[in-house]
Every structure is written in C-alpha cells, then in structure tokens.
Symmetry: C2
Subunit: 348 residues, 2 copies
DNA sequence: TTGTACGCGTTATCAA
DNA sequence: TTGATAACGCGTACAA
C-alpha cells in the first residue's frame, strides 16, 4: 500500500491516533469525527498494513500446520477440516510439509523462533518432550492431531482399539492366519500410531489364543507402493495368510494390487481390511477402520484458536474411536479356498 | 523472541549497525569483529525478528497459492510440485482455498491490499482483466497455472487438443455414440478448461462427420458424485452411449460407480476415458488423458519466483499437452454388446 | 571499519 | 475527545 495512516490523518484533518481509534473501533471518538475519518478512508482506499500492525501486536493472523506428506488422502481430509474453520476466521493457513526427519526437526526448532505464525497444529508427527518445552518457552501455542504428547493438548484416535477391532473382525470371519502390514515413516520417524496398531494386533491375536508368527508382520511406507511390496512378501509365503490387515487404506490398496498381480481373488482367497476410511476406499469397496479425520482436524484447530485466545490452558487428551466399515474385500474364511487351496497346489 | 539486535550489540560491545551487517553478510566488517558478534549471537540464540525485517524490506518470504478445493487429487498433485520447490527456497506456502465465487472474488480483491505474500500463484481459477490489472497496480507478482489471462504469465495444458485426442481415440475404437460429461464449478465459476474440452469434443465429432446429440452432453461438478449423477442420466437414456468421456478422472470414477449400479460392464458394454491422470487412475486401470500436473506446479512456482526477483517481465504463455494413457476401461466397440444389446432387451 | 540516528506504519500512552 | 510522541525491531545512510 502507498497510503498510510498519516495520509488519512492529514487529509481528514485529525491526528493519527484518532484514525487508529476509528480503525479499531475503539471508543472515545465523536461520531462526527468518526464519520469524517471513515469517509477519507473509503476515498483513499486505505487499508492498514498488516505487517506494521503485527509489529506491535506480535500477531500475524496466520496458523501453521506441520504435516508429513500433506498430499496424502488421509492428511488432506484432515486439512479440509482445518482449512474451513480457518477461512471462516479469516486466518491464513500456512503449510509446513515434512518428508524426512531432518526437515521435521529443523521446523520444530526454527518455528518457535521465527514468529511467523500465531499457533502451530502438528499433524501425525511425534513431538519429543524437549521440543514441546521449547514451544512453551517461546510462548508458541501448539495442538497435536493424530499425535500425542503429555505436555500438549492432543487429539488422537485410539489406535490400539482400532487395530484390535480390525483383527477381531477378521477373526470373527474365521481367519486364523492373519497378516499385518504396519506403517513406518521414511527416514526415522517413530510414529506411535504404528506401535499402537501393533499392540492392538497382538492383543486380538492373544485373546484368540493364536500364536504370533513374525513372518506375518511386515512394515512398509504408508503408501501404495509400500503396501504392495509388503503384500508381495506376505502373499508369496509358503503358507500365506488368508487375511491381511493394513495400517492404512493406501497400503491396503497396495495389497489389492499385489493380489491382482498374483491372481489371488479378493475376497474369495484373501480378505483385506484397511485403516483410515479415506474417500476412495468407498469406491474400491474396501473394508476398513474409519477414522473421523475431518472432525479431528476441525476440533484440533478449534482448540488451537481457543488456546491462542486464552493461553495457559492445561493440556488435554481428546480421544476418538475408529469404527469398522464392512465392505466387500472381506469374507468368511473357507477352508477349500485361499491358503488351503494354495497348499493343495503345493502338494502336487 | 526476547533478545533483540540491541542486546547482541551491547553484549558484543559493538553498535547495532555492525550486528546488522554481520547478520546480512554485508561487507565492511573486520573478521575479528564478525567472529565476536557471531559468537554472541550463537550464545544468545538470537534470531532476527522476521516481522521487523519485512517492515523494512517489504517482503514476507511467503508465497500465496489460491486454489479451488485444494484437497482434490488433481490439485494436490500440483501442490506437491509447488511445495517442494518452495521448501527448497525456504519460503512459506500459504493456502487460500476457495469453494465458491464470492470467496474467490474476495481473495482477489483483498490479497493485493494486505501484503502478506510476496507473490501469488493462481491455480485453476479464471482471473478477469480487471483483477489482473489490480494485481499490477498493487505490484503483486502473479502467475497462473491451469488458467489463462493475456496479462499474466500462464501455464496451461491444451485442453482442446486433450479432449480432441480423447474423443478421437474413442472414435478409433469404433464408438459412434459418445457421451461427454463436462465439468462445471459450484457457484458461478466459468472455467475455460470446460469450454475448451467441449470444443475439442465437438471438433473430433465434426471431423468424423458425426452429428451432435445434445442429450449426450452433461455438465456436472468436477467430482465423483457429479460424475455419477451425470452418468446415471447418460446411461438410462433410451439409446445410451457406448462410450463416455469425462472431463476429469474423479468424474470418470463416478461413471464407473454408476455403471456398476446399473450392471453395465466396463469395458465390455461401456468404454470410459477420464482426464487428469491422477494417481488413483492407475489402480483403477482407467484410460485417461494425463496432464503433467507436477511439472506445471513446479514450473509455475519457478516462474513466480523469477518474477519476484525480476519484476516487469512480459507475460508469457506456456503450454503443455495432455497425453493419452491407454488402460482397461476402454475397448473396441462391438455391435452385439452395449447399446444394441440394450436395444435388444428393450425390443422384447 | 564502525557507531549513531532515522525511518518503516502501527498502536498505546499521556497530556491537553 | 483529541493530538503528539514514544515504542516495536530492524536496515541503512551518514558521519566519524
């Protein structure tokens, strides 16, 4: 902008203080004066410079969101919730995308310093205690979504329960040899999502009195290719599983691809259940554990805004549950197909 | 931050000017002095306040991207390219998502005023001449991607050619009754993408000497539901088409869903070709016209950065082509199936 | 080579 | 109710 508050003040024949008061709807301005100033503002198309404003207020009106691979469906569905409430509040959404751990660490150490955002929403990224306390020290408000820290308010879904239910469901269909493709993050991220899902898997297996077969557990990137590669391993085992639980829908889609390549019929010979409940899973008729991503995003950002207005809130843990969506990639185990059919062929 | 440039100067026993020179690598500082200042900076963990800096430089180091429905696959694939080059340059990515025309217009008028971004990348949104000149007046650098304005450098794909080739391909397979599901934007956007695709459609039809049947052209939202609804119309026609060209992959996916509901076999009874070439199209084995989304995003942002460094460049038009990816949702027309089979049933 | 002082556009304080 | 003026933290002429 070229016209400043001084121009307005001069032309309106008042002091800059008065103009400022008018802009900010501060009381103590005679209506007639306000009118006059307002008309000059309109005439000059004057807009206060946001940078100069934040120079004093120490606020930018922007919210940072730090996420891994922000273009993945699971993430974008969360972002949808985040964006809509942010736009409603006329706040900017700035994205910090991280694709490896060094990048993540850099953001975590630098973001508190450069005060370019009023608050930070961390999605699906683990934050160490040291990091969370550096946030505190810098006075940066932070909320976690799909991640947990005892020191920061966190919005999570119960991944143990989710995985447990997924496997339980497979068990209820009669499956006994159940493969698990867990997720890992490129680089050295340590997602506790993955750990929790593994725990849920074990718990369900244990309850059913089933032994744990290490070869049935694979770890892969949280995407199609990762799931596909892991599934290739699982499905070319001597005794391959009759069902596979994938830690994300994208990985489950990879499983479907692998099965297709190997001419294994789903769900006839192989049951597949995913996790996340992303939009495309519906089209693929993929059975999955649905996470309320949109709501998590909305709630997370709402909490963050609240914290920015009223700092010094005690951290809170908000839990959601994953819910089973039964579709057509799972079916009851039948002994004459799948594993045993494969065994029969082997026996030739 | 609490420590300022003054603290550093005082502790290092120099003037603020010297500290500033050190920070900005300005020449004319004795090495020993530089050392001393640097060590104090490190000791105090001092970081210059970006807000105060932009107060002087008039730059924020942020790039705005204004997009419709930024969570759609076609858009996110472009954003992937945008984000990666931006992160590389240590610039922030701020997203302005628009879901209707009034929101778009508000951003277009306000963004030039509030100088919160150094440049603006407009994706898939039409910008009126008046808007483009307001950008100029405000000195805001702008580049268009998947959109065109004679006054702004634009990165586009030739949609006429793309649609033409798609229909041409269907024609080469022997199809004569070809349905077209074009896109429209919620609200009152007027995407020229849609117009161009319609032109390409007509051109191919005309060359083949085929008449234009208005009932075979539908317009829908650029998403799954839109495509599905439009396909339901097309596929329940007395004489339904033997092939459908959808203006986006998401719409094509909707067509697949509709066909599934109507028990119409793809590609046996119906050929489907999409547009965009989003990742999921591969899994679905959808034949499609692929757009180089990633490259478009990368190139667009590269141009924008260049313009910010060197303003007053003449606007340039950069064209890409869409390329056919043949997969399995299309097959040669066979008279004994599809339309005629349907007719036969009707005849009973 | 280095320090001082001013300006960037606001808001806030304090007399008047 | 108002206007002048001091911050806010930094970059940069200009003087030393």
């Amino acid at each position: 902008m070229f016209t400043t508050i001084h121009d307005v003040a001069r032309i309106a024949g008042v002091g800059v203080g008065t103009v400022s008061r008018v802009i900010n709807n501060s009381p103590g301005v005679r209506p007639s004066t306000r009118e006059k100033v307002l008309s000059v503002i309109a005439e000059l198309h004057y807009k206060p410079d946001p940078i100069a404003r934040s120079m004093i207020s120490k606020r930018t009106g922007a919210i940072g969101v730090i996420v891994p691979f922000f273009t993945r469906p699971f993430i974008t569905e969360m972002l949808k919730g985040v964006e809509s409430t942010l736009a409603h509040l006329e706040k900017e959404l700035v994205i910090y995308n991280v694709e490896n751990d060094s990048q993540r660490d850099r953001y975590f150490t630098e973001l508190p310093m450069r005060r370019k955002v009023d608050g930070l929403l961390v999605i699906s990224l683990p934050v160490a205690d040291a990091v969370s306390s550096s946030f505190k020290d810098a006075g940066l408000q932070v909320v976690l979504v799909d991640a947990y820290s005892p020191y920061l308010t966190s919005v999570v879904v119960d991944n143990i329960q989710g995985a447990y239910e997924a496997v339980k469901y497979l068990l209820s269909l009669g499956h006994r040899r159940i493969g698990f493709i867990n997720g890992i993050i490129e680089g050295n991220f340590k997602f506790n999502q993955a750990n929790d899902r593994l725990i849920g898997f074990h718990r369900a297996l244990g309850e059913a009195g089933l032994p744990f077969s290490p070869e049935l557990v694979q770890t892969s990137a949280w995407d199609r290719d990762g799931g596909k590669a892991a599934a290739m391993q699982l499905l070319t085992l001597k005794k391959r599983p009759s069902a596979i639980f994938a830690a994300s829908d994208m990985q489950a889609i990879g499983v479907i691809e692998a099965a297709r390549m190997l001419h294994i019929d789903i769900p006839g010979e192989l049951s597949v259940i995913g996790y996340d409940g992303i939009e495309i899973s519906e089209l693929l008729e993929l059975t999955t554990m649905h996470q309320p991503t949109l709501q998590m995003g909305e709630l997370g950002i709402a909490r963050l805004i609240e914290q920015i207005e009223h700092p010094d809130q005690a951290p809170e843990l908000i839990r959601f549950n994953a819910t089973l969506i039964e579709r057509r990639t799972t079916s009851p185990y039948s002994a004459d197909k799948g594993t045993d059919a494969f065994d029969a062929i082997e026996a030739l």
